[in-house]
């Protein structure tokens, strides 16, 4: 289980998180939604120590990880993988070596063993036939799938997806959505998905929390979002340019 307790974060004068509380249960697919710049990515990066909070606490399976050292966060990052918005594959490496990298860095295994395990993960996303090609040879959708394969190499308990379907075609987006669902159903992986793709949100989410002006304003199952009268949530879900929401 993941708990964010009164987490605060500012960048200079800009207060991005103003005391956020959120709990994500084991095996759950939690979507965090909100307008661009609302602080969704900022929040999830705290979980893996890529950002440090100004205040509050982050609890992972009962252990307070808020103030761990960078070295101690390596253990957290073995259990909690992240798929970045830009895929962040390393252009100088083949797809196979990109996926093998976490295994080689986190464990002392031979290159052959790391590559063998990487092929298995590439097969999960249907990219094993392209293992020896370079990221530059592929479009965003394919790169995203490889990034997901890389995130899965360490068999994580938790996976953070930062806008996994942004900028990719609808078919690739549907494949990514299915992968997220399969991870939860088949492997019991807990997923936190940052998104504003409504099709994904209502197709995959177990629970949705909407971040607005540094706080969560609504937290519940997709049905709650379909039925709510909350004016800001309504404006966001309906995609209305005019309304109470300050963008």
């Amino acid at each position: 289980m993941i708990e964010f307790l009164k987490v605060r974060k500012s960048f200079g004068e800009k207060h991005v998180l103003r005391g956020v509380d959120l709990t994500v249960k084991a095996g759950e697919i939690m979507f965090i939604i909100g307008s661009s710049g609302a602080g969704k990515s900022v929040l999830v990066k705290h979980l893996v120590g890529l950002l440090r909070p100004d205040g509050g606490n982050i609890i992972l399976d009962g252990k307070d990880i808020t103030y761990l050292s960078e070295r101690d966060f390596y253990d957290v990052r073995k259990r909690c993988a992240m798929v970045f918005q830009n895929s962040t594959l390393f252009d100088s490496m083949t797809l196979l070596d990109n996926v093998a990298l976490p295994i080689r860095k986190h464990f002392s295994v031979s290159l052959e063993e790391a590559r063998r395990r990487a092929v298995e993960k590439l097969a999960l996303v249907g990219m094993e036939g392209q293992a020896d090609r370079y990221p530059a040879d592929f479009g965003d959708g394919m790169r995203k799938k490889v990034a997901i394969a890389r995130a899965l190499t360490l068999d994580p308990q938790f996976v953070i997806f930062d806008e996994p379907t942004t900028g990719i075609d609808p078919i690739s987006a549907a494949i990514v959505d299915n992968l997220i669902r399969d991870l939860s159903v088949n492997l019991g992986v807990t997923s936190i998905v940052v998104s504003h793709d409504l099709r994904s949100i209502f197709g995959v989410a177990d629970r949705i929390a909407m971040l607005y002006q540094g706080l969560f304003i609504l937290d519940g199952p997709p049905q709650l979002y379909r039925e709510t009268d909350h004016p800001i949530v309504r404006q966001f879900i309906d995609g209305q340019p005019d309304g109470p929401m300050e963008v």
Binding site: K45, L50, E70, R77, M82, F84, T88, P102
Partner: protein, 272 residues
């Protein structure tokens, strides 16, 4: 009608003046602390962890080989200009140009070759390092490295540091040769100083060589670390990368000039 807001202690003219001075000083202090911390970590990873030698060679090619034309052109023209101006002035005063080459060689070793080369490396290579690393920061590749248990300083900074250090020394030696030959050409053609007269090492001492190496090493350490620090502190999008590049060239240039001042003083007291 609302009451006028009470003046807080921090809004007085004295407080504002102190804040105007203290704010930038604190910022400079923070930057220096971060740069020295990065230098310390770079040295730690260099001596305690495996070095990516392939990346060092690639960076060496980028920093060294790809700077050759730039260094040749700038130092070549600079050598010609310096000799033309100094020979012209010496002719006006003493009329004897016998020691022109010897003095020029001493000047190159003591000052011009390492310092001008370092300023050029700061311009060409420092901006490149800051832009490359900064782009990796804003596209989250540095975060991805951290997620994969790869420390960005070990992975990105150490190869650039080693390559930058070695290539600054190599390019400084190359700069001496180019600048001296260009000066020799002008001395021969315009002032009738033959190459055998111009090539005179009698004034060159071990102190000059030590000062040359000290400066080249110091600049070779400073430029990659300061540039990488600027890149790693980039934030935002392409605007942040642009700001990091500007910061790198300004900080590197200031560092080179400041180190030159310190090391010249040291050499003057202890070596010359």
């Amino acid at each position: 009608m609302s009451a006028p807001a009470a003046q807080t202690p921090s809004s007085g003219p004295m407080s504002r003046s102190l804040a105007a001075v203290g704010g930038p000083l604190l910022m400079i202090g923070g930057e220096l602390r971060d740069i020295f911390r990065m230098l310390f970590l770079t040295l730690y990873y260099l001596f305690r962890k495996p070095v990516r030698w392939r990346a060092v060679v690639e960076q060496g090619y980028e920093i060294g080989n790809r700077s050759l034309v730039f260094v040749t052109l700038v130092l070549g023209f600079l050598g010609m200009i310096l000799i033309y101006q100094s020979a012209y002035q010496a002719q006006q005063i003493v009329g004897d140009l016998q020691l022109l080459g010897a003095l020029f060689l001493q000047l190159l070793f003591r000052e011009f070759a390492p310092t001008i080369t370092a300023l050029m490396i700061a311009t060409r290579v420092g901006t490149g390092i800051a832009a490359e690393v900064g782009s990796m920061v804003v596209t989250e590749q540095v975060d991805a490295l951290r997620m994969n248990n790869a420390d960005p300083i070990q992975y990105l900074v150490v190869p650039r540091f080693v390559a930058g250090l070695v290539m600054t020394v190599v390019l400084s030696v190359f700069a001496v040769v180019v600048c001296f030959l260009a000066g020799m050409f002008v001395a021969d053609r315009l002032f009738d100083v033959s190459p055998t007269t111009f090539f005179n090492t009698t004034l060159l001492t071990w102190g000059d060589l030590i000062a040359f190496l000290m400066k080249a090493f110091a600049y070779g350490i400073a430029v990659p670390v300061i540039s990488a620090h600027a890149g790693l502190s980039a934030f935002g999008g392409s605007e942040g990368v642009g700001a990091a590049t500007t910061k790198a060239v300004v900080n590197c240039s200031l560092a080179v000039v400041f180190l030159d001042f310190l090391l010249s003083g040291f050499a003057f007291v202890f070596l010359f």
